[in-house]
């Protein structure tokens, strides 16, 4: 009996010991509850809609009376050439976006960091991130008038320089489409994306620069050996986060510029989902495409996180 009692005592004590850190932080736990509820409602509850992907969903019937069809929707999806085309377009455009936005944002931040006149630097920074606040519909309007083949500024410039002898229909040629999307993104987001790098650069210890100067290092050496390594961790974290978004190549630009002529290269998964789900009323197929996209995104983010942990000991989670 006493043995049992002492055992129970020991168990209680160990339990208390284990619970202690939690109890000590109980106010923090209470504070997190609203956000857990928030996340549950807005991020987890909608997942119940995934059930549609395994049904032949009809709005009039709802979840309960729509017939289950197993993996038929997925089978159809994977045998649909339009889906793979939109998958390719998404990957292509978002890879280009990723590369260009990283290169330009980091490059821009590096250059701006070298400007010593604070007033000038601030002005440039403000102006450069303003396009971020413009809506895509406005940006697309600007781009289409600049690239217009009848009296568009870009064609006029090229003709004046003698590079081309007649206007090019930039928005009607499939081979230019991805580049236009990539540069539209660069123009709109470079300033905004560089803010975080500039912030990271400002936290680099000035003593390092001084040491480099004493050793006779030039400006370029300082940029290469101090500034860039100094923001490496920021770059990695952002890269991991962005890889998770790799299947979000954007929607608006492709939707707004996606005329029949360039349809083959402009349709992204999001547009595919919109077309089949909302326009053609095939909600189930669209949900299946959405699930596929989520699964790939999760795989991507877990892999990069793991790899980055292996290589750099820098992980997001």
């Amino acid at each position: 009996m006493t043995v049992l009692k002492s055992k129970l005592n020991m168990f209680m004590m160990s339990l208390q010991r284990k619970l202690k850190p939690y109890l000590a932080q109980k106010s923090l736990f209470f504070m997190i509850i609203p956000w857990m509820i928030f996340t549950f409602i807005f991020s987890y509850l909608p997942l119940t809609g995934w059930i549609m992907a395994f049904q032949n969903f009809r709005p009039g019937k709802g979840y309960w009376r729509s017939p289950f069809v197993g993996f038929d929707q997925f089978k159809f999806l994977f045998s649909e050439p339009g889906f793979w085309r939109s998958f390719r377009n998404t990957l292509g455009m978002s890879t280009m976006n990723l590369i260009f936005s990283f290169v330009f944002a980091i490059g821009f931040a590096l250059l701006l960091n070298e400007v010593k006149n604070t007033y000038f630097k601030r002005t440039v920074q403000t102006i450069s991130y303003l396009p971020h606040f413009l809506s895509w519909i406005i940006v697309c309007g600007l781009i289409s008038s600049i690239l217009s083949s009848s009296d568009g500024a870009f064609n006029n410039l090229l003709m004046w320089l003698g590079i081309i002898d007649r206007p090019i229909l930039w928005l009607g040629e499939p081979k230019y489409f991805w580049w236009i999307v990539a540069f539209a993104n660069v123009w709109k987001e470079t300033g905004w994306n560089s803010i975080i790098y500039l912030a990271a650069m400002s936290s680099i210890d000035p003593a390092l620069y001084e040491a480099c100067e004493i050793d006779g290092g030039s400006r370029y050496r300082k940029m290469w050996h101090i500034t860039l390594p100094g923001i490496r961790q920021t770059i990695l974290v952002l890269l991991i986060m962005n890889l998770g978004w790799i299947l979000n190549a954007g929607f608006e630009v492709q939707y707004l510029f996606g005329r029949g002529v360039v349809m083959d290269v402009s349709e992204t998964i999001d547009i595919f989902v919109l077309k089949y789900g909302i326009t053609l009323g095939n909600y189930s197929l669209a949900t299946a495409a959405g699930i596929f996209k989520s699964v790939i995104s999760i795989i991507m983010i877990v892999t990069t996180n793991y790899l980055s942990g292996k290589i750099e000991e820098e992980r997001l989670f």
Partner: protein
């Protein structure tokens, strides 16, 4: 700390009081707004006295009620201070809040269906889908209850039922219900359009084939490389979104069919087939390819947005296009308001050599059976709404909405004829003024009278011969007399279509193979036609074969079979009805 708490508590109390006051004042305001001549709360028929301004008899029940209505067309809701709509609300208590389409119709419908938040009233919003979702109210009993609605719809009830489950009618059709049709003055739909100046310059010659059409355009363009300082555009093709029928449909008309949809139907066997891959289509796009090489067609026409397109039309520099009249009318109205009538357009009878054109549909009294106004289960008071519709169908009310007030807005011609006053005509011709100063929007999107009344009086200005001639500019009068016609529609052929017509109104089940096949067909055409027009002429044939192969790979037979099945059903139903 304590004072802070007190301040907080005080602030909270104040905000609560304020919000209560705000709610209260809203309720207090409502009756005062409506306490116009209409008596508050008394619904007794004793108050039936004619409105002195309009001579209309008010409805018995005038308690204020507001309905929300969605309309499938892009547009703008009328000004809330619109005098006619205010008067109607004063006489009936009913206000209709119009929500016009923004963006793509199918996307909007998909969102409405997925959310379950249906508007109370819908116009032209794919009734079959809402019916399948159980969102529509059956209307037959209401139709039979009200005399005007009954007279208007009873002859069509069977066809209205056949469009759905065969038991009930769910739509109030809004077109082709004329009891006595009025003459067709002009082509309001699809056609090859050409600037009147081009015809004038060619010595009032009317082109009848594609070759003649482009010949005239090129002759004119060679002589006039610019029009009022803007570079002349020979032929424009709008490719923006759903409006790209301008690109995809012409072959259908060259083959001598009216605006059927995405198939052509043999009128003897009632079998549908694809006009998109016929030799006619091949030759048509080859012709466009040639014209593209010559510079008659500009490359940016393929990337233009609708607004840019309307802008070029309004500049007066576009000599011709294939389009539907209502689609480019906005641009043409600008030309009219500037008095540049020689830059406005006329629809010409272009067809394959030896084929009779078919641009005009006879006003046959054949309704679509599925289109029109629908009322959803979210509607607050269906009975009240139907009573309102019934009231609107009174001849006096229809006259008030369409013509306005006698003496001020219109004058009598002969015994039953009518024409507008110049001031009123100026209002009607200006899109904004028409919307904000007349009852046009309400008339458009509620059950309405069209054509002629039994005594021969025109239902509206659009039906009136007197008004048509009174409204013609001097240029047009001269132009038509030189062509030897009274009105522009006379150079086109009017065709009477069978009872099933048209295929575009057929409801194809969502997610069905037919629906997918149809969508693919449209997409493949959308993709290849511009390529074909811009391609190297030497590669045209191989690109065409690639196009045809891709069309066939999309299993168009799924769509064609479904269309054939529905044609047969509708023809059988019509045979039973005996018409």
């Amino acid at each position: 700390m304590k004072t802070l708490k007190k301040v907080m508590a005080f602030l909270m109390v104040v905000t609560m009081l304020l919000s209560i006051a705000a709610c209260g004042s809203k309720e207090a305001q409502n009756p005062s707004v409506t306490s116009t001549p209409v008596d508050t709360g008394t619904n007794e028929p004793a108050a039936v006295e004619k409105d002195p301004e309009t001579g209309l008899t008010p409805m018995a029940n005038r308690t204020p009620i507001t309905y929300h209505m969605f309309i499938r067309d892009p547009g703008q809701a009328p000004d809330p201070n619109n005098p006619v709509l205010k008067k109607i609300t004063e006489l009936t208590g009913v206000t209709i809040e119009f929500e016009f389409l923004v963006g793509d119709l199918n996307e909007k419908i998909g969102v409405l269906l997925a959310s379950g938040e249906y508007p109370e009233i819908m116009f032209g919003a794919d009734a079959k889908k809402f019916f399948d979702a159980g969102a529509l109210v059956p209307l037959d009993d209401y139709i039979m209850k009200y005399p005007n609605l009954r007279a208007h719809y009873e002859p069509f009830l069977d066809k209205m039922r056949a469009g759905f489950d065969g038991e009930h009618a769910y739509t109030l059709e809004n077109y082709n219900l004329e009891r006595i049709p009025s003459p067709i003055f002009d082509n309001g739909g699809a056609g090859f359009w050409i600037q009147k100046a081009v015809i004038e310059e060619a010595g009032y010659k009317i082109p009848r084939t594609i070759d003649e059409y482009f010949q005239m355009i090129n002759d004119y363009r060679a002589k006039h490389p610019t029009i009022d300082g803007v570079e002349t555009i020979g032929f424009a093709i709008l490719c923006d979104g759903w409006r790209d029928f301008c690109l995809r449909n012409p072959a259908l008309h060259l083959l001598g069919s009216t605006n059927e949809g995405d198939v052509i139907v043999d009128k003897t066997t009632f079998k549908s087939s694809l006009y998109q891959i016929t030799d006619t289509a091949k030759l048509y796009y080859k012709k466009l390819n040639e014209e593209f090489r010559k510079g008659t067609i500009k490359a940016d026409t393929f990337t233009q947005t609708f607004d840019e397109y309307i802008g070029t039309i309004a500049s007066g520099a576009v000599l011709g296009m294939f389009d539907q009249h209502w689609n480019f009318m906005q641009g043409e109205n600008v030309l009219k308001s500037e008095g540049r009538y020689e830059r406005t357009y006329i629809s010409v009878p272009i067809a394959n050599p030896g084929v009779t054109d078919a641009y005009l549909e006879a006003k046959s009294g054949t309704i679509s059976g599925t289109g029109g106004i629908t009322i959803s289960t979210k509607c607050k008071d269906v009975d009240r709404l139907m009573a309102f519709y019934d009231w609107l169908l009174n001849r006096e009310v229809q006259d008030y909405l369409q013509w306005g007030i006698e003496g001020k807005d219109w004058v009598r011609v002969g015994t039953v004829g009518k024409k507008l006053t110049d001031e009123r005509r100026a209002i009607i011709n200006d899109n904004n003024k028409r919307r904000d100063l007349t009852g046009d929007t309400l008339w458009q999107y509620t059950p309405k009278m069209q054509g002629l009344y039994e005594d021969g009086a025109p239902c509206g200005p659009a039906d009136s011969e007197d008004e048509f001639f009174a409204g013609l500019s001097e240029y047009d009068q001269n132009f038509f007399s030189k062509l030897g016609i009274k009105y522009p529609a006379q150079i086109l052929t009017v065709v009477k279509n069978p009872a099933y017509y048209p295929v575009w109104s057929f409801a194809i089940e969502d997610g069905s193979p037919a629906r997918l096949a149809h969508a693919k067909l449209e997409d493949v055409c959308r993709k290849y036609y511009p390529q074909l027009i811009m391609s190297d002429p030497a590669k045209y044939d191989s690109l065409w074969e690639q196009f045809v192969a891709e069309v066939k790979a999309g299993k168009p037979e799924d769509y064609l079979n479904e269309v054939d099945r529905q044609i047969q059903l509708k023809m059988e139903a019509a045979a039973k009805e005996g018409n």
